[in-house]
């Protein structure tokens, strides 16, 4: 035991001795392992980050499931959502009014704001005090009386405020204002939906597997030199077992330095994390802490993996006292077990893809992660076999091609192992891009296409009779408003919990927006495709008045709006009943809301925030939203961009390890290359052989990755219930990026090649 420890220690000492070369190799390995460790520690912090965020969201929840206290009391307060957006970024607002002296303050506040006082999140405060936030400041002109502490925020980048109000009162209609006596016991959970859960699992898997591949490649840096050193030790009397332990000691030392580098990088990430925001999500530094078991797994697993990889690599090398003997005939790779992995993965994923589940379940996550891991690991396992199988069939070509293919035929394993990282990352990224683009396309289609792309809708609660005119006056003629339609909306109870919106329009509005051949006062219309109501059905209007949808109500379709008209005010898909005033038969139910559709000028980027400001003055509880739903497309586009950048970063990382491998190989082949130069081999021929030698495994890896990525993407689309369609643009993007990596690695090797092919290489004896 003591001897073994002594040999491990000797290995560790050897890692540090040997001058600049040794230190360079140690540094490369440490940085490589460190990058991997930092990424793993960040990933290991993810559960805590999510938990902490969820707990804060739950603690500030103010939507009592039981309806809350019925009457005002010393501990009650009124709260209403004042959700708004500023330049497409969510702003979480609440209007609050204490009804009693002991009314609770929300988390993050030491007291409730008094009427007219504004408490804001630090991010919102920065925005409001900046020039960029001037437009938002017009919406929230109240004095800032304090800031919301971390305990009351999702994350450091969240824009949130509490505004004290003395006009807040419980309204019976719409339930916009709620009475509560405490925060936090209700389920305002914003857990990830199936789509996001699926994507998150695949993202983690697709990003972490290349990290593992990269760590494995990093601990092999300098392997050739180490093998030669071990041969020298064999000459001095070390037996095979001792050399293995010495090699393990070297790997362990490098991995431990890597752990240190990784820990420092992780601390750096922790310091900077509050500046990072992705899709409105951000994390506090304090939340970025790996859970203990995962941290231990990383801290123990990485050095253990480093030692294991080193020992496995040594299996193919016989270290003899007079030098190294590589096993001349490496065992042919078998395909059967490599195929089993992706097939098992598909077997796990296929039932979910066919079942089209829509609800999240933790068991499903495990199955999904397992399936994705098996498919992606299958890609990594298949690639060395595929490279070997293909390069053994390659022949012909010029000298450069021959040098490259023969080199790969001799040992394709090293190249294939490194390219595995690219293959896994690209396969995962293509699968995700496929899913993202389908989901993104779905949202674009939901919004109704191009005709309503610039149309925004607002729903303002207003007293009967005057709301429409006031809203019209507030918006008409404002900068950026190209057209405007305003109608009243009544809320009707169709029984069985069904609620129906009835919009009261003039015939002129009906003709503009519905496909009708005639319209007269007293007519009513049902939108084609609406299934919740039918002609002749009895509904209960606000104020408990009963009304029957006229039996002669005509089923009509929406007219595709001309480019210069706002669509949707009269009817949009969730609002199936459109009536003219006469159809109500003289009934004057209280108007619950006024709906305005506003078409904005694309050239006026702040027009929508001008509209929000105008609407805010009429009713802070009013919402202003893009026609047909929120513009998730932009958010998904951001996610896709982030994913593309992440995958490219992985490509760069792997490219770096390929470069290190190429440089090491050049050093190792110094003598034959110098001889090639001596008998007149043009440097360009050797450079082209380097290019082919890098390109062949990368092209094969990309081909396999694209096939696996598209297949996995199709399965994921099935899981999230979207039709299969492929984003060929991103596939082409990855192919181009892969080619760029090959070119850059080759170009970066050329100076070293030039040095290696100098005649000085012949003077080594």
């Amino acid at each position: 035991m003591r001897a073994a420890l002594r040999e491990l220690a000797l290995g560790a000492r050897l890692a540090f001795s040997g001058g600049r070369g040794s230190w360079t190799r140690l540094l490369l390995t440490a940085v490589g392992v460190g990058l991997g460790v930092a990424l793993l520690l960040v990933a290991a912090s993810a559960p805590r980050m999510v938990d902490a965020r969820d707990q804060r969201i739950a603690a500030r929840a103010d939507l009592p499931l039981d309806g809350g206290p019925r009457h005002a009391g010393p501990r009650t307060l009124l709260v209403a959502d004042a959700l708004t957006e500023f330049r497409d970024v969510d702003v979480r607002g609440r209007l609050v009014r204490a009804e009693g002296r002991q009314a609770p303050a929300p988390p993050g506040l030491d007291r409730l704001p008094r009427p007219g006082e504004l408490f804001v999140s630090p991010a919102l405060e920065r925005l409001l005090r900046s020039d960029d936030g001037r437009l938002l400041r017009a919406r929230l002109p109240e004095p800032i009386a304090g800031t919301i502490g971390d305990a009351g925020l999702e994350g450091p980048a969240e824009l949130a405020f509490y505004l004290g109000s003395d006009r807040l009162a419980v309204r019976t209609a719409g339930g916009a204002v709620r009475r509560i006596d405490h925060f936090g016991d209700t389920g305002e959970s914003e857990g990830l939906d199936t789509v996001l859960r699926t994507l998150a699992v695949v993202v983690l898997t697709a990003l972490l597997l290349p990290v593992a591949v990269f760590i494995a490649a990093a601990v092999r840096f300098g392997g050739e030199v180490r093998d030669r050193r071990l041969a020298a030790l064999r000459l001095l009397g070390a037996d095979r077992r001792m050399t293995r332990r010495i090699a393990a000691g070297e790997a362990l030392a490098a991995a431990l330095i890597g752990l240190l580098v990784g820990a420092l990088l992780f601390l750096l990430v922790r310091l900077l994390v509050e500046r990072i925001e992705l899709r409105g999500l951000s994390a506090f530094s304090a939340d970025v802490a790996p859970s203990a078991p995962l941290a231990v797994a990383v801290l123990v697993g990485v050095p253990a993996a480093a030692v294991a990889v080193t020992l496995i690599a040594l299996r193919n090398v016989v270290v003899e006292p007079l030098g190294l003997v590589r096993r001349a005939q490496p065992r042919r790779r078998r395909v059967w077990w490599r195929l089993v992995l992706p097939l098992l993965g598909v077997a796990l994923l296929l039932p979910m893809a066919l079942g089209r589940e829509t609800t999240a379940a933790s068991g499903r996550d495990l199955e999904l992660a397992g399936g994705v891991v098996l498919v992606l690991v299958g890609v990594a396992a298949l690639l060395p076999w595929a490279v070997e199988a293909v390069v053994h069939r390659l022949g012909g070509g010029g000298v450069a091609w021959q040098l490259a293919t023969r080199r790969l035929q001799l040992d394709s394993g090293a190249s294939a192992r490194v390219v595995c990282g690219i293959a896994v990352a690209v396969a995962g990224a293509i699968a995700l891009q496929t899913t993202f683009s389908a989901v993104e396309g779905h949202y674009v289609r939901d919004r109704g296409g191009e005709g309503v792309a610039d149309v925004w809708q607002t729903l303002v609660r207003a007293p009967p009779g005057e709301g429409a005119e006031r809203l019209d006056a507030a918006l008409r003629g404002r900068d950026g408003v190209r057209s405007l339609e305003t109608v009243e909306q009544l809320q009707a109870d169709a029984g069985g919990g069904e609620s129906v919106a009835i919009r009261v329009a003039t015939c002129a509005q009906v003709r503009r927006q519905l496909r009708v051949d005639r319209c007269a006062d007293g007519d009513s219309f049902l939108l084609d495709g609406a299934s919740s109501v039918r002609a002749g059905a009895r509904v209960r209007l606000d104020g408990e008045e009963r009304w029957t949808i006229p039996s002669d109500a005509r089923v009509v379709r929406l007219r595709r709006p001309p480019a210069d008209q706002a669509a949707g005010a009269v009817a949009s898909n969730p609002d199936p009943v459109v009536v003219t005033r006469g159809a109500l038969g003289g009934m004057r139910p209280p108007t619950t809301a006024v709906v305005a559709s506003v078409q904005l000028d694309r050239a006026a980027p702040d027009a929508v925030d001008q509209v929000r400001n105008a609407v805010w003055r009429l009713d802070p509880l009013a919402s202003v939203y893009r026609m047909g739903g929120r513009d998730y497309a932009a958010q998904y586009a951001n996610l896709r961009r982030a994913l593309f950048i992440g995958a490219i970063a992985v490509l760069v990382l792997i490219g770096a390890s390929m470069l290190v491998g190429a440089l090491e190989q050049l050093r190792e082949r110094r003598r034959p290359l110098a001889v090639l130069a001596a008998f007149g081999t043009p440097r360009s021929a050797v450079a082209r052989s380097l290019l082919w030698q890098t390109a062949i495994p990368v092209v094969l890896g990309l081909a396999l990755a694209i096939a696996a990525g598209l297949g996995l993407g199709a399965l994921l689309l099935g899981m999230v219930g979207r039709p299969v369609g492929f984003d060929l643009g991103s596939v082409a993007g990855f192919a181009v990026a892969g080619c760029a990596v090959v070119l850059v690695v080759t170009a970066a090797s050329l100076p070293a090649l030039g040095r290696t092919m100098r005649p000085e290489g012949l003077r080594s004896e």
């Binding site: 000298v399 001799l410 001889v675 090639l676 130069a677 008998f679 007149g680 043009p682 005649p759 004896e765």
Partner: protein, 228 residues
């Protein structure tokens, strides 16, 4: 030497850093002549060979081959010359490990523009002449040192060079194998009419040459025609 020399070097100087390797060395080699360059280790004999072959550019002095001044030629011209007119055999590590023996021999032919099929046919002929035809499909890692040297000689002669440069070609071989390689090398060179510049420190190897040039401290100090 009655005929005009094929290769001449005059007053060559070459230093590597502060260490002088050649200090006024001169030599003449006639067509078809076998010249042994002898000297102790570190005397500058390999550097002289490298300068003669256009591998290393001397700091001063001139090298002429068939009337052309090699010291004025650029890298492309020198590479083309080495490819077409010269052949090389070194002590070790000269075969491309991933190529088979036949492909190694065919390599300079292919670099010179020969088709793959023709190059490999000619390579096999040369392997046969060097008595290693059975190694054609093997890689250098699968053959012995002596066999590898014979493959290297075949490769050096495959382009039918006018000058063959051999730097300690038997240095890594036992005496029996060394003799065998030298016999085949000199026979093949004489058959093809190539001049040979043979760097060695072994008199036994030098005995295969027509004359000796001795290099000491970077200077050629003696030239003795061998008559034995």
């Amino acid at each position: 030497m009655s005929a005009a020399p094929l290769l001449t070097a005059e007053a060559l100087h070459k230093s590597f850093g502060p260490t002088p390797a050649l200090d006024g060395a001169s030599i003449e080699v006639a067509a078809g002549e076998v010249v042994a360059v002898m000297g102790p280790s570190g005397s500058g004999k390999s550097t002289l060979l490298h300068c003669l072959a256009g591998i290393v550019r001397p700091d001063a002095g001139t090298v002429r081959y068939a009337g052309r001044d090699l010291t004025a030629a650029d890298d492309v011209e020198l590479s083309a010359l080495r490819r077409g007119e010269f052949g090389f055999v070194f002590q070790f590590g000269q075969l491309v490990p991933e190529l088979s023996c036949a492909e190694n021999v065919a390599l300079p032919l292919r670099l010179d523009g020969c088709s793959r099929r023709d190059a490999e046919r000619r390579a096999r002929n040369w392997l046969e002449r060097l008595e290693v035809a059975d190694l054609a499909g093997k890689t250098p890692g699968q053959v012995s040192g002596g066999q590898g040297q014979r493959v290297a000689v075949a490769r050096a002669l495959a382009t039918e060079p006018r000058v063959l440069f051999a730097d300690e070609p038997t240095g890594a071989l036992d005496s029996l194998n060394g003799e065998h390689v030298m016999r085949l090398l000199s026979e093949a060179a004489r058959d093809s009419g190539a001049a040979v510049v043979l760097v060695t420190h072994e008199p036994r190897v030098a005995a295969w040459s027509d004359r000796e040039v001795v290099v000491r401290d970077g200077r050629t100090t003696a030239t003795a025609p061998l008559t034995a």
